[in-house]
């Protein structure tokens, strides 16, 4: 591997969270982001070719070494690492609405879910999956929420564009057709 690739490998190994290309390019002042991309591709290829137990994964707008899926069960059973707590249906509903409507206020989330969502939103903020991004116009200037990089990370997404497009869902919402009276 090139010297830069080895430096990137060391940094990625040391970090417990995904590192962005921007962050990685600060390691070597003369290396541009293009060189970092090349280095990352190099590491990826090496780990794939030599058949390792870990792989380099693009996640949450950055890069991270993760264990390969086939070892999840053994590691889990031995309790060397903990699986994250599963999110409740209420939490996932709220996350889905915030992810697609962000920035979105609590009122809109309540309206779509048909239930008060204040406590759920607070919990998501506590888990670092949702944050206040701005304040809305109108009465009381309501807090508007959006998703965090942590949200992408727990879903294994590179970015929000990886979420399914709404028109790809089987229930595509269309404007209500005027109902004909019988």
């Amino acid at each position: 591997m090139s010297p830069l690739a080895k430096l990137l490998e060391a940094a990625l190994f040391a970090s417990s969270r995904p590192l962005t290309v921007g962050e990685l390019s600060t390691l070597e002042p003369h290396a541009g982001e293009g060189a970092v991309h090349t280095g990352l591709a190099e590491i990826r290829a090496v780990y794939a070719a030599q058949d390792h137990g870990i792989e380099l994964v693009e996640i949450a707008q950055g890069w991270q070494f993760l264990t390969r899926r086939e070892y999840a069960e053994a590691i889990d059973r031995a309790q060397f690492a903990l699986r994250p707590r599963r999110l409740s249906p209420a939490a996932l509903e709220t996350l889905a609405i915030i992810a697609y409507r962000q920035p979105v206020g609590r009122g809109e989330v309540d309206e779509i879910r048909g239930v008060d969502s204040g406590a759920v939103i607070d919990k998501l903020i506590e888990r670092g999956l949702v944050e206040v991004v701005t304040r809305g116009e109108g009465l009381g200037r309501p807090l508007l929420y959006g998703t965090t990089p942590q949200f992408l990370e727990i879903l294994g997404l590179k970015d929000l564009d990886e979420l399914p497009r709404l028109d790809e869902l089987s229930v595509a919402l269309r404007p209500p057709a005027p109902t004909e009276p019988e």
């Binding site: 190994f13 040391a14 970090s15 417990s16 969270r17 995904p18 994964v57 991270q64 070494f65 993760l66 264990t67 390969r68 899926r69 999840a72 590691i75 690492a81 903990l82 699986r83 994250p84 707590r85 599963r86 999110l87 409740s88 249906p89 209420a90 996932l92 509903e93 996350l95 889905a96 609405i97 992810a99 697609y100 779509i112 879910r113 048909g114 239930v115 008060d116 506590e126 888990r127 670092g128 942590q150 990370e153 727990i154 879903l155 294994g156 997404l157 979420l163 399914p164 709404l166 869902l169 089987s170 229930v171 595509a172 919402l173 209500p176 005027p178 109902t179 009276p181």
Partner: protein, 246 residues
């Protein structure tokens, strides 16, 4: 569950929410619709409303506001559908339209929930270094501020503190002695005088009270006599000197 004979079970539970079963009234509605394979765009409202009420009664959800609100909405739509309408009335809007729209929207969210849950489950099959299931929230960045800024900020805050409003009680003692002296001086000159001559043109409240008490006191001592022709007529003050009487 305890036996139905258990008296505790007989009691109406105060507030029971079957949290994990349904995540809200829309979820419950969708469940009922899917169970009976109903057409969501042409909902048999009467049937759905009855089923909805039955289920929330059964689950003890009939005291949860969100479910009650939905129950009320269903009953209203049911009532609206019963109202007669004229044929060819273009203004008529299906009272179910709003609910159907919300249900479709909610169904879409449910589909996304499935997708998100799968993505999360798949991600959970891989571990990162120093894996922490729930990284604690980063504490807020330390405040960087120099002393002058801090002092200026403190001054701004202090300036915002309103001045405490204190009601000052000013002692205004009645000057009965002064008034007595004034009345005696007046009566030394002439035999009678009027009220206005005693208190002056524009008397203050204190002047009036002082003069009035002085007059009563002098009258009691027998130094003068007070008379009034009728209610609200001017008070006449007349000297009653023991010297003259003698």
């Amino acid at each position: 569950m305890s036996a139905p004979t258990d008296p505790v079970v007989q009691e109406q539970p105060g507030f029971v929410v079957e949290l994990e079963q349904f995540s809200g009234p829309l979820d419950l509605l969708l469940h009922l619709i899917n169970e009976d394979e109903l057409d969501i765009t042409d909902l048999p409202i009467a049937k759905i409303a009855d089923q909805f009420l039955a289920v929330i009664n059964e689950l003890g959800l009939n005291q949860a506001a969100d479910y009650l609100e939905m129950a009320a909405r269903l009953l209203r739509i049911k009532a609206q559908l019963l109202l007669p309408r004229r044929l060819g009335d273009d203004e008529w809007e299906d009272p179910r339209a709003g609910l159907v729209r919300r249900l479709l929207e909610y169904q879409q969210i449910r589909e996304l929930v499935d997708w998100l849950a799968q993505a999360a489950a798949r991600r959970a099959e891989q571990f990162g270094r120093g894996f922490r299931p729930e990284p604690p929230e980063a504490p807020p960045a330390p405040l960087v501020i120099d002393l002058n800024d801090l002092l200026a900020a403190a001054e701004r805050v202090i300036a915002l503190i309103p001045e405490p409003v204190l009601h000052r009680v000013v002692p205004r003692p009645l000057d009965v002695e002064g008034a007595t002296a004034r009345i005696e001086a007046l009566l030394a000159e002439r035999e009678r005088c009027g009220w206005l001559e005693v208190v002056g043109e524009r008397p203050s409240l204190v002047d009036v009270l002082s003069a009035f008490i002085a007059l009563l006191e002098l009258a009691k001592r027998g130094a003068l006599r007070l008379s009034q022709d009728g209610p609200f007529t001017p008070i006449v003050i007349q000297r009653e000197s023991p010297r003259e009487a003698a």
